[in-house]
Amino acid sequence: MLKKIKLWYKLHKWISIVTGLVIVMWLITGFMITTPVFFPKSLRIDQNRPDSPDFRTVTMTPADAVAHVKTIVGHPPEVTSVRLRQISDIVAYRVVLKDNTSYLIDVHAQQEVIITQDMAQQLALEAYPDQAQILSAEKIDRNDLSYPLGPIPAYRIIIDDEQGTHLYVSTQTGEINQTNRYIRSFVIVEMLHSFTAFSITTHNQTRFITYMLWISSFLTIIAAVIGYYLALPHRWQIRWR
């Protein structure tokens, strides 16, 4: 009987050693997220945002925008949505087609807007609240740990400042996302806490991540249940012959 109890202790010990690492990581990251001392006010972003446009001056119709796209693609496009977007002081229709390609049509100039690297840098400098110099600019096609969640493809513009500011300009919508080193650290801690960090490293294989979470959950439940069994008074435990 003593040998059996020893076996249960060993099982509880070794399973808990492994699964306990995940639990401890989850607890510590959760504590960090909710404690201001780790991530203070630097999480607040100052960004210059353009004034809302005067829609009373927008006389171009969605039908005109679609007709313009027709001249670009050379055939009647299959449109899934048309949306109004503001890019700096430009108002544009974003026409999305069935094959997921999209086109931006300036409502005033009535021509296509293409977000080039130069334009992206210009937009980034306008959005940044102070005078700034650009350290580097590159186009990225995949999310990474510095930019785990925003739209892609995008231009990454790195600003030469103390906070390590990065600005990401979407090539499809002109949307600008801004981060600094504190925000990037916070996001990584948050993603570790919610286990979504693994979707970056495994390239979004949801089922694989879910299997891994299930396996570790089952092992932890087994360790916990064995622990409860060991905590029972001896007379309640099964007598092993």
Partner: protein, 243 residues
């Protein structure tokens, strides 16, 4: 001090702290499993995106605002103009200051209001079930069947074996669906993310305090366990009890 170094004491501490914090941990693990089981099912075939005919949308945003002001009989301060689709109609959603958003048909220029009849049509058009509609009612607050999402909405209840509900926004016609299984999964998710603490109190500090307390207790139990798992020569030697 000696009593603290005794191994038996550490075992007791680990046992009793783990008995309490283990309940929370088990709840979190089990609700996590139950909230994610659908991700293991084979993915349904991707639905082909629906295309819309924008050729007849001959009203510009400027005309839409002018039509709105004519219908309301007053000038409005416009925050934003968006385009959206309701059934097969293309509609401008005009957000104005100090008022609810207004919908204007981008072809005919008329104001569009989401009535219960239109809401039912929208729900049936995109419904995952062919069952008939049992009930249409207006909901002004979130409840257990519609935990997250803007209000007010129309709830359309379908007469099928999964008790499918559709919620159509009264402001812009956006629609969501759930059934009894997805509602149960959502309930498990609120337990898993400790959202149900808001039932005890809405004060964020108290919720954070409760989470911190359980975090520290569980960390203590875990670290205690790691200490007990160390080889005996690595542990702090305990002085034997005096007889």
């Amino acid at each position: 001090m000696n009593i603290l170094l005794r191994l038996r004491t550490w075992y007791k501490i680990h046992k009793w702290t783990s008995i309490f914090t283990g309940l929370l941990l088990l709840m979190w693990l089990i609700t996590g499993l139950l909230a994610t089981w659908e991700k293991l099912l084979p993915k349904p075939e991707a639905i082909e995106p629906v295309t819309f005919n924008y050729d007849k949308t001959t009203l510009s945003p400027a005309d839409a605002i002018a039509n709105l002001e004519e219908n309301l009989g007053k000038t409005v301060e416009v925050n934003w103009v968006a385009l959206t689709e309701i059934l097969d109609r293309i509609v401008y959603k005009i957000s104005v200051k100090e008022d609810k958003p207004h919908l204007v048909d981008a072809q005919l220029g008329q104001l569009v209001e989401i009535t219960p009849e239109i809401a039912e049509e929208i729900a049936k058009a995109k419904s995952p079930t062919q069952a008939p509609v049992l009930l249409v009612e207006r909901i002004n607050r979130n409840d257990f069947s519609y935990i997250y999402g803007p209000t007010p909405v129309y709830r359309i209840v379908f007469d099928d074996n999964k008790t499918t509900y559709s919620h159509v926004s009264a402001q812009d016609g956006t629609v969501t669906y759930n059934n009894c299984w997805s509602r149960i999964t959502a309930a498990f998710l609120t337990l898993h993310t400790f959202q149900t603490l808001k039932v005890i109190t809405s004060r964020k500090r108290i919720i954070t305090g409760l989470l911190w307390l359980s975090t520290f207790l569980t960390l203590f139990a875990a670290l205690n366990g790691y200490y007990l798992a160390l080889p005996s020569q690595w542990r702090i030697p305990s002085t034997p009890r005096r007889k």
